[in-house]
Symmetry: D2
C-alpha cells in the first residue's frame, strides 16, 4: 500500500467518545472494502491470511460474542451458525473451522455480512454509552483496528496471487522524498521505564495487556538510526550478494532462504513491486517493507549494525508523537514523515522475542486468550505501518510475528552499540 | 446432484447441426451457473477441482485458441493475458498458472467471463457451418460437455467445504424407485469387437481418440450385474466392517483408508449426504456414488464378485441406447431408469487400467495432448452419470480417474466369472 | 551390479531336488552378504528399500511362519519377538513395524540373524523331503530368490547414499561387447497363448499365482527390438533435450521430472555411474538400467517407437531359454549375451498395467496376499536382470513396480507396430 | 539414562592440566561407546539426532580442523574425504552432507573412526602444552563434552525406535529418594550481575561466548522451587486432563499436542519408561525429564506457577557448587542430590528466549559460528542433566533447544512472583 494512500481515519481515541470511536472504526472497515467484490473479499491466499469478508465478519462476531450476548438483554444471534465460522482462535468460545477453510466461504455473501454488521451496530447503540462496558468497547475498537491492518495486508497478498496483478485502488504511489544519509540517535543507557502504565482497557489510556506492566529495564549505551532502511539501500545488499552469503544469516534464516529460494523482499520483481495500486516501479527512497526478521537480521549484520531491542526502540520513541507519523488518511493530506519516521513507515523489527513482561498476567476468560498464549517463537516489532489505523499507535505497542513472515508492512531500523 | 435435477439438454449430436450443437451446449453451460454468485464461481476446493468460472473461461479459451486464432481472419484475442490463466494442461500452448492457483482468480469477474463467452460466440458464428472445421467444432462441443460435468462435480465439492452446506438448487432429490434384487446378465464370451469405428472427430459419429481404433478382444464367459450397487447395500458393507478388514482391500487402497481415515463414501455423514440441493437423508434405493476405485474393488471382493473389465462392460452395453439413461434434463420429465441403468446412474468402475488401444496414435499438435498423455496410473470407468450431458454418452466412451479419486459421480456394477 | 559379477548359482529348479534347491538358495543369500558388515547390513536408505539384514531375517521368518510353525511338531519360535520385526506385509500374520523403521534394527545383530538362519535350516531338514510340503517349499525358495535380487538392489541404493561411494566388491565391471545396430524381430500377430500352465506351486514347473491362468490373447502384428537400449543411446536422448521436452512425456512423468529435477538415470553422474563395485566410467555399450517407466516411455516416444505389451514380449520370449541369459554366476564364466538379451540384461518395461489375468484367484490364507493385492497402479516388467538368480527366470514371469521407481535394474526394449 | 549410571569423569577443569583434560575427555567419549556395535553406532533416528559414530568422528574432525591443520606443521589429513562427512554446521569450513544422511554412513566403520581418534590424539600430543593454543584446546574439550551428552541422548532415541527395547547397559536405574513437599527459595529482587566474567576461552575460567558479556539485570522479587517437578507429580497433571485442556497451553504448544497426538512425556508408556537400561517401571520420585518447553509451560500454568527467567535461575544458582550435583560418574559413588538439585537432575526450562546478551559479538572465523547464529526461535535451559559431563556445568551455562524438542534430559523447576 502506498504510504499516502487514503484509508480513512478512525479518529483520535484520546479525544472522541466511545460511541464516536466505535462508529468511526466500523465505518472505516467498511469504507476500505468498498472497492472489493464478493469474490475478491472471499479470497484466502495462505493459512496466515484471511479473506476480507472474514475480517468483516470476525470483528462483528467479536461485538456479538463479548458485548451483545453478555450485556444486551434478549439479544438473539443474527445467525446461530455463524459464530462457528467466524471465531478466530478463542478456544474458550467453542469450535471453529479450520483456519485454511476460511477461503471456502462464498456464503454468507459480502452483502449478508454487511447486513449483519448493520444489525450489530444497531444492537450496540444502547450499549455504547454504558460506563460499565467502556473497557470492553475500547478493546473491541482496538481489535477491529488491528483487523483493518490485517485486512489490508491479506487482500494485498491475495491480489498478488493473480497474474493479472489487479489493483485495489487506482492511481499510483506518490514518490518518497529523497533520503538524507543515515544518521544516528544516541542514547546514554541507564535505567528506563518501559511498558504501558494503566490498569486494564480504557479509552483515554488504552493499551493491550501485553504492553504492561510498566517496569524498569537497564539499557547499555546505544544508538538508533534516524530513519528506516530504504529500497535503494536494499538493492545494494542484494547486489553485494547478501542473499547468497550464509555467514550473514541466522541458521534458521539461511535454511529458509535456501528452502524457499528467497532472493528479494516479498512483492519484488525486477525493478517493480506489487502494491494495492497494482504493479509499479520501485521507489528507491521509500522504506523497504515486506521483509522477514531473518532478512532484517542479515541486512543488519551486513551493514555492521544490529537490530535494536524493543526497549531501546521504546526509549527513543517514548518522547515522540505517534500521531505525527505517516499513516494513511482518507480526508487529510499525507503527513510529512516524522523526524525519525517511528510511526507509519513500517513495522520495525527488534531482536527481542515476544515474551511476557515481569508480572504479566493474562485476563480471566476468553479475553485472556488475546495475547498471552502467543508468547512463543515470535519476535517483537515496534512502530506502525502505513496500514495502521491512525490513533492506534503508541510507543509501548508490541506487534509480533514469526521470523519468516513478511506479508505485513515490515521494515528495518538499525541500531548499534555505543561506547561511552 | 439428484438424479432428476434439471441441468439442461445439449441436444442430440446425431440429429442437430453443428451450429445448433454449439449453441445448445454453450447455453447449457451458462444455464447451469445461473444460481452461482461470482464468489461461488471462484471457489477452488482442491487441486483436482477448478472454479466454475474457470470452466466457463477455459471452454471459451478452447474455442478462441483452436478455432478463432487459427481460422478466423483478423481475430484479435479478447484479452491477451487470459490464455495464460485459462489454459489447462496443453504444454504446446505455452505457460499456464499453477493448477492450485486457479482459486485466486477473483478477476476477471464472472460477468467479465460471460462477456467473453458472448464475444467468442459472436466470433464463432461464421465458422460454425464451415465444413472444414466441423471436426474441430465437434471436438470443442464434446470438450465443453466434459467440462459441464466437471463444473457440476467441482462446485459440489466446493460448496461441501462450507459448514453451512449451501444448496445450489432448491427442492430435494426425488426418491429412487425400490430396487429389485440384483440379477445377472450372462455373456457367453468369445471374440468381441470393441472401440469406436470412425476416422477422427465428426458430429454424426463422434468419439475421442482414446476410444479407438476399433479392435477385437477375447472374452471369457462372464456375467454383469443388471443394476448398480445401492446406498442401502453399501450400508451393509459398512455394517459388516468393510472399511476395517484389510483382506478386502488392494494394498494401496488399504494404505489410503488408513492414511485418510476413510469410513464411508465421500459426502456421507451419518444418515445423510450432501447434494447439489444441500444436505438430505440418504436414499437407500439410489445407486451409491462418490466411491473410489479402491472402495469399489473392496466391495466387490466382499460381495464375492469382481469389477468388470472395460470390454466386458462394453460388450453388454453395445446394444443399449445411451439416450435411454437417467440423465438430467431441463425440459423433459426424468427418464425411467434404463433396464440396466448403464447410462446416467453413475460412472461404473472397471478393473481395466487406462491404456492405449492397439495402434492408438495421438493426433499431431496440441489437440494430441487431449488424452494420450494421461494413460498412466488411472483406471477406466464406463457409462455415464446424472451429471453427464445427454447426448454425450456412448458404449465406447472411456472415462478415467486415479484410483483414490471420488468427487465424480462414481458407482459400481459388479461382475463375475461364469463357467459354461 | 556389473553384469558378470559373481553372485552365485541357486541351481536349476527343474533338475535339483527340493532339498538341494533349498540349500543352494539359502547358501547363496548368505554368500552375497559376505562382504557386508553389520552396519552395512542395517542400512535402510528409503521406504522402498530394506536393510540386507532384514532380507536375511524376513526370508527366514517365511520358513518359520509358513513351514515350521504349521508342519514341524513341537517347533518353538527361535525368538518370539522377531516375527513382529520381520513380517513384511502379510496382514493375516499380524502386526508389524512401520516399513521405514526397518533401518532402526541394529539388534538383532547380523550374527544373531545368521544364527537364526542356521537354526531354521536345521529345523527345516526333516521337512524338505515331505511330498506334502513340496509346493510350499518351492514357493519359499522362489520367495527367497526374489529377496536376493531386492537385497542386491537395496544395498546398492544404501551404499550410494554414502559420499565415499563404497564398493561392495572389488574389481571393476567388465566392458560390454560393442553393440550391433538395433534390429527388429517381427511377429505376425494373431492368437497367442500366454501365462503359465500348471496348477499351483511345483518345483518342476514353478510359477507364481500371478502368472496364470494360461489364456489366449489376440496380438496385432508388431516388432520387438532385438536388444535393449544402451547407455550410449541414452546419452543421445539426453543430448537431444529428452528430459526437457514435455511432449515426450506422460503427464505424470513430466510432473515427476520437474518435481524431482530428474536429468539422467539413477546412479549417473557426469560420465560415471555407481555400481556394486563403486563409481566407474559408464560403458556406452551396456544396456541402460535404473530408469523409471516414465523415462522408458519418453525415450520410446523420442525414438518413434513404443513400449511392448507384456504379451508381445512373452510371445517373442516364449521360445527362448531363460538360462541362456546373462545372469551373474559364482562359479561359471559369464555367459555370452543371449541372441535377444531377453534374460539377464535388465528388466524390460512393458506398457501393460499389472492386473489379474482372466479368472485369476488369489490363494486362500496369508499366502494369498503374495501378489493379488498389489494389482493397482503398477506396471509389468518382463525378463530378468543381472541380479536375478539363475533359474528364477521364465517367459511367463511378471515383475511389477510403480512407474516412478528405478532402483531396480530396469531397462528398455523397444517395440513398434507393423503393417502386414 | 539412570541418574547414577556410570558414564565416567572428565575431570575437574579448574584443577587439571590442558593435557589431562584433553585425555580424560577423549577417553570418556570412547568408554561410553564401549557397549555399542558398529551397527548401533551408525543409527540415526531423526534429523535432530546423529549417530554415535558421527559424534566420535565429528569431535575428532574438530581437533583436526581447528588445531592440527592450523598449528601442526606438516600435518596431513587422516582421510581427505572425511571432513565433508563430519563437519556439522560450520559454513565457513565448506560443504557437508545433508544432516539426515548421517545415518547412511556404515563406512568408515566404528573401528576406522576409533583409529582416526587414536591418530589425532597422537598428533595432538605436542600441541597440548602450547600456551598459545590453550584457549582453543579448552574450547575443543568443552565441545567434546557437549557431544558426549548428545551422543547419550541420541543413542537413547535410536535404541527406543527398536521394538525390542534394547538396553545399552545392564542393571536397572536405582530408586530416587522420596521427595519432600515442594519448597520455595525466595529472592528479594534488585540488581543482579549475570553472565560469565572472563575474556575468551580459558581452562581455569572457561565459558562459551554466549555466556557473556557479564552484565547487570534487574529482577523483581520472585521465588524458585527448591527441587524439580517429579514423575509422580506429572502423573497428577495427566490425570487432571492436562494434555486435553487448551487453556493451559501456549497456542503453538496446543497445535503441537494435537498434531503429534502428545499425551505424555517422551519415552513414557503406561507405567514404564525407556532408559539406557531398557524399559523399566517409572520412578515417581525421580524428576520428570524428556518434556518439551510447551509441556513445561503448560504444567506451570496448571500448577499456578510459571517458568523462571534464565536470570532468576542464575541468581539462585550463582552461589551453588555445580560439582555438587547428581552427575553420573564412573568411579565415584553417586553424589547425593544437591540441596536444590540445580545440576544433574535435568536441564531446567526457562521462559527466556535464547538471545544475545548486551554487547555480545561472535568470534571471528569459523569458531564464531559456534553459538551466535542459533539465536532465533529457541529457548534457554539452565542447569545440567545426568548426561552432562562432570566439570562441564556452571551457573552461567546456557543450553538451548526449540520449544518442541524433548529428546534431551529436559525437566522443570517452577517459579512464581513474590510480593514484598
Amino acid at each position: 500500500m502506498p504510504r499516502s494512500e487514503p484509508i480513512g481515519d478512525a479518529g483520535d481515541p484520546a479525544a472522541a467518545s466511545p460511541s464516536a470511536q466505535y462508529r468511526s472504526t466500523r465505518a472505516l472497515t467498511e469504507a476500505l472494502v468498498g472497492p472489493l467484490s464478493d469474490a475478491d473479499a472471499s479470497l484466502q491466499s495462505m493459512e496466515d491470511a484471511s479473506p476480507a469478508k472474514w475480517h468483516l465478519a470476525h470483528t462483528t462476531w467479536f461485538w456479538e460474542t463479548f458485548l451483545l450476548r453478555a450485556s444486551a438483554p434478549g439479544y438473539r444471534l443474527h445467525n446461530p451458525e455463524w459464530p462457528f465460522l467466524f471465531n478466530s482462535y478463542y478456544e474458550a468460545e467453542g469450535a471453529r473451522i479450520d483456519r485454511f477453510a476460511r477461503g471456502m466461504l462464498s456464503r454468507p455473501t459480502l452483502e449478508d455480512v454487511l447486513e449483519w454488521r448493520a444489525a450489530v451496530d444497531d444492537a450496540m447503540t444502547p450499549l455504547l454509552d454504558d460506563p460499565a462496558l467502556v473497557g470492553l468497547i475500547a478493546l473491541g475498537v482496538a481489535h477491529e483496528q488491528q483487523h483493518i491492518e490485517l485486512l489490508l495486508t491479506d487482500i494485498k497478498h491475495a491480489l498478488f496471487q493473480n497474474p493479472l496483478g489487479p489493483a485495489m485502488w487506482g492511481g499510483r504511489p506518490p514518490p518518497a522524498a529523497p533520503c538524507a544519509p543515515l544518521g544516528w540517535l544516541e542514547h546514554p543507557g541507564g535505567m528506563a521505564l518501559v511498558g504501558h502504565q494503566g490498569d486494564g482497557f480504557a479509552f483515554d489510556n488504552f493499551a493491550f495487556d501485553n504492553e504492561g506492566p510498566r517496569h524498569r529495564v537497564l539499557l547499555e549505551p546505544f544508538a538508533l538510526a534516524d530513519r528506516l532502511v530504504t529500497n535503494g539501500e536494499w538493492d545494494e545488499f542484494i547486489a553485494d550478494g547478501g542473499y547468497r552469503e550464509p555467514r550473514l544469516w541466522l541458521a534458521d534464516g539461511w535454511g529458509w532462504v535456501q528452502r524457499e529460494a528467497i532472493t528479494a523482499p516479498l512483492y519484488w520483481r525486477e525493478d517493480g513491486y506489487f502494491t494495492h495500486q497494482g504493479w509499479h516501479e520501485r521507489d528507491p527512497n521509500a522504506p523497504v517493507t515486506h521483509i522477514s526478521h531473518f532478512e532484517a537480521d542479515a541486512y543488519a549484520t551486513w551493514a555492521g549494525a544490529r537490530l535494536p531491542t524493543e526497549f531501546e526502540w521504546e526509549a527513543i520513541a517514548a518522547g515522540h508523537d505517534p500521531a505525527g507519523g505517516n499513516q494513511i488518511d482518507h480526508a487529510a493530506p499525507p503527513m510529512p514523515r516524522g523526524a525519525a519516521g517511528l510511526f507509519g513507515d513500517g513495522w520495525q523489527f527488534t531482536r527481542s522475542a515476544y515474551l511476557p513482561y515481569p508480572r504479566f498476567r493474562p485476563a480471566e476468560g476468553a479475553v485472556g486468550e488475546y495475547n498471552g498464549k502467543f508468547m512463543s517463537g515470535q519476535v517483537v516489532l515496534r512502530g506502525a505501518s502505513c496500514a495502521t489505523v491512525r490513533g492506534h499507535s503508541r510507543a509501548s505497542y508490541r506487534n509480533f510475528f514469526y521470523p519468516h513472515q513478511r506479508w505485513q508492512f515490515t521494515g528495518l531500523r538499525l541500531a548499534k552499540d555505543v561506547t561511552t
